[in-house]
Structure formats: structure tokens, C-alpha cells
Symmetry: C2
């Protein structure tokens, strides 16, 4: 495992701009260490970036991604805090399940659309 990544290494690996990565730092999602002014990204920062981009692909906002990342972290409080955390996890899970249903429905309609196309192709070949 590499110790550090530079910002451009990450931009190349994930296909995002430096502006984007710095923006995520401004928003408090990643906290790379510094050597002078230069940012050094640890493997854990890289994992965070991966999680952020995954959240983005699912249509979560930065604020929502922040929440998701927070629940990943081990809980440190007393009973009440931890129970609250479990409730938040369940909530996020419900959102994900909704997205899953949305995907299944969209997939089904795509299947229907494709079958439709294939049928049309067959018709065209017969009528020629």
C-alpha cells in the first residue's frame, strides 16, 4: 500500500479535476495532510474519495454524502448516541432500497423497449 498520493494522481485515477477534489476538502469531506502547502493524500483519503464519487453516481448531494460518510465511522458516544446512529443508518438504507426499486422498474421498461425494437426489426425483415 502506497503511503501518499498526489492530487494529480487521484484526478487521473478517478477522472475528476483538482478543483473537484479541493472542493470536497473545503466541504470537509476529506482532510489530506500537508507538506508545506502541498496536499498529500493517504490511502484512507483515497477510499473516502471513492466513496464520495460512488455517492455522486447515486445522485446524493454533498450534504447527503457527508451524512453517509459519517455513519461509516465507528460510533464513539454513549447508548443514546449509538441508537441514534443506528436509526440514521436504517434511514439511509431505506433510501437505498427506494433507489434499488427505481432501478428495477427502469430496467424492466428498458427490457420492454428493447424487445419492442427487436420485434420491429423482425417485421422490417419480413416485409422486405
Amino acid at each position: 500500500m502506497r503511503e501518499y498520493y498526489t492530487i494529480t494522481e487521484l484526478t487521473r485515477e478517478f477522472g475528476v479535476s483538482t478543483r473537484t477534489i479541493r472542493f470536497y476538502e473545503d466541504e470537509g469531506l476529506i482532510k489530506p495532510v500537508r507538506r508545506g502547502r502541498t496536499r498529500l493524500f493517504r490511502p484512507s483519503d483515497r477510499v473516502l474519495l471513492k466513496q464520495i464519487l460512488r455517492g455522486k453516481r447515486l445522485g446524493f448531494s454533498i450534504a447527503e454524502i457527508k451524512e453517509i460518510i459519517e455513519v461509516y465511522r465507528a460510533p464513539s458516544g454513549e447508548e443514546g448516541q449509538i441508537k441514534l446512529m443506528i436509526a440514521r443508518i436504517d434511514e439511509k438504507r431505506n433510501e437505498l432500497e427506494q433507489k434499488r426499486r427505481d432501478i428495477e422498474e427502469t430496467m424492466r421498461e428498458m427490457d420492454a423497449a428493447e424487445e419492442n425494437c427487436i420485434e420491429r426489426l423482425a417485421e422490417l425483415r419480413v416485409s422486405q
Copy 2:
């Protein structure tokens, strides 16, 4: 099946504002009929709205949703057109499959986070 829905009926059913629905009309996603100036939404418009909101939940932009809705419609061209349509459907399906993988990964991390919480709770009870 109802013949027409008013705009406010749809806002209530789907929890969106009239502005939102009119915005989708401006973007060419829905085309309700008119009685005078008043919009009348047919069941097919309602289905379209449902599809739009589903796309939104999955993080698709208006432009992408437009594309998706277009591929749902029966293809009317000649062979080349239809084959192109099939290619576009496959592309969208790939995007959906990526989202599906993203959901599964996120779910797994949620599970781990929750187990972590439960473990912490057990520890707290033992140490009391």
C-alpha cells in the same frame, strides 16, 4: 382510469410544486393538453411525471431523463435507426448496472457500520 388530472392534484400526489411540473413542460418532457389556458394532465402525462421523478431519485439530469423517456417510446425508423436505439438502451442499462453495484457496495458498508454500533452497545452493557 380518470380522464384528466389538474396540476394541483399531481403536486399533491407526488409532492412536487407546480413550478416543477411547469418546468418539466418547458423542457419538453410532458405535454399536457389545455382547456383555455389551464393544463389538463392525461393518465399518460401522469405516468411520464412518475418516470421523471424516478429518474431524479436515481440522480439523472433532466437531459438524461429526456433520453431515457425517448427510448421508452416505440421506434419508428428504418433498420439503422432501430439498431441505434438498441445501442442507446444498452448504454443506459450499463449506467443502471453501475448504480446497482454502487448501491450494493454502499449497503455492505452500512451493514458493517450497523454491526459496529450493535457491538459497541453490547460492550457498553457489559462494562456497566
